[in-house]
Amino acid sequence: MAAHTYSYFVVAAVIAARLEKATRIARHLSITASNARALAFRAGEGASGFRPLTDYIHRLADLTVSSSSRINHLASELSRTAAEKERAERALRHFVDVGERAKDSPFIDSLQPVFERTSQRQCVLRDAYNSQIKLLTSELDTLEGELRAAGVLATMSRVEALQADGVYQQALNNVADNVESVTASIKKHIQSSQTLVQQLTQELS
């Protein structure tokens, strides 16, 4: 998507949509974690090394779900603020236009408080928008860091799967694959969101 061709409020909505997807995918990781725990339990001693890893998968899943939900909420708020900011800016453009077209009007002065009020609102919205972008950037960076651990977790899961009995080996390998693919998919959405947020940050400066 050539995002730079879109207005900032559209970009904000795209970010919110992508992060909603990431949240949905993160829920799959919870299912994978539960499956892994049940599987390790059934495999018994043959998968004793795998069992502690399932706790890590669970922790990663919980962290990812809560973190991505929080980020998703932040992105939705950003999108709302962006839309309101655009409304205020559009109104200001109209008021400037009216100010020029009606400069000889006997009641042109009555437009001044309207202009000031809307400018003030636009400033409040701009400040809120800026701080929401900063917060979103920091939360995305944190989540990306947390997801780095997922790669290690998948590798360790594969190593432990090798120790398991033949019947469980394939199933435990599938768990490792799931952890890897789900986190890769979340990462993809996080990274593309980071790029879009960066674009919004550049527009601010």
């Binding site: 409304r87 008021f95 009007s105 009641f107 408080p113």
Partner: protein
């Protein structure tokens, strides 16, 4: 956008705004109306978002912005009230009067500051300083929740889409030859108005009012004997037509 004074008395003025030569192409020309009293102004069917700048420019030649204390939307259509989100940023303590059934729809245009006065199906009234204006029910003409504004003192009826005609943007303000005007409004009424029953009920009620000027939202204004001519014609017109019957 042109301004035309319909009435200028001691207690109030009626203005009509329209025939905007700079209107963007492909949007229907609309008539906006305003009643100005001592300390208040009522803006009726203020128009679409595309007209906002032109409308506000025209309005502040007549009144200061903060004097616009009331807005009326006869129904929910975009050419009537899609500019609401911008008026909402311009007006601080205004009230929008509109049919109750459209409140939750109209709010989609953006309404955070303006108050909403839901007009009951039976109608209602609004007193601006000493001037009483009456909301006349005109449901299904064409919208299922729809009102006209009647000024008993002047006999002016702002009739919304009733009496509307589709014609050139530079058309005269008043109907000058009723017969030749019929082709400009016939199809509009037959296609847009869905109910003969609602139409005849409206005609019956409006006949009891002393209407001296019938002011639609599109096209020309009817005055004097042309008001009666319009009511007779409208009463005899079959509406709610589609397909082949519409083209007859």
């Amino acid at each position: 956008m042109k301004t035309h004074t319909l009435y200028d008395g001691d207690s109030h003025r009626w203005l009509m705004f329209g025939r905007d030569p700079n209107k963007p192409e492909k949007i229907i020309d609309t008539n906006q109306y305003m009643v100005i009293t001592k300390d208040n102004a009522l803006l009726m069917d203020p128009g679409g978002i595309e007209l906002f700048s032109a409308m506000l420019t025209t309005v502040i030649k007549q009144v200061p912005v903060d004097k616009i204390t009331h807005i009326f939307a006869s129904h929910q259509d975009p050419d009537i009230i899609s500019s609401l989100g911008l008026w909402d940023q311009a007006l601080q303590d205004a009230t929008l009067h509109s049919p109750w059934i459209w409140e939750s729809f109209i709010r989609h245009f953006g309404m955070q500051n303006i108050n909403f006065n839901a007009i009951a199906d039976e109608g209602g009234s609004l007193t601006l300083d000493d001037v009483k204006l009456v909301f006349i029910p005109a449901h299904y003409l064409h919208s299922s929740g729809n009102f006209n504004v009647f000024d008993p003192q002047t006999g002016i009826l702002m009739s919304g889409d009733i009496g509307a005609a589709i014609e050139a943007d530079d058309a005269p303000m008043f109907v000058d030859d009723f017969e030749s005007h019929i082709p400009r409004m016939k199809l509009f009424h037959q296609r847009w108005m869905p109910s003969n029953e609602a139409k005849n009920d409206w005609v019956e009620r409006v006949r009891e009012l002393d209407v001296k000027m019938l002011c639609p939202q599109h096209g020309r204004i009817f005055k004097g004997d042309d008001v009666g001519r319009f009511l007779d014609w409208f009463e005899g017109l079959e509406v709610g037509l589609t397909g082949a019957r519409l083209r007859q």
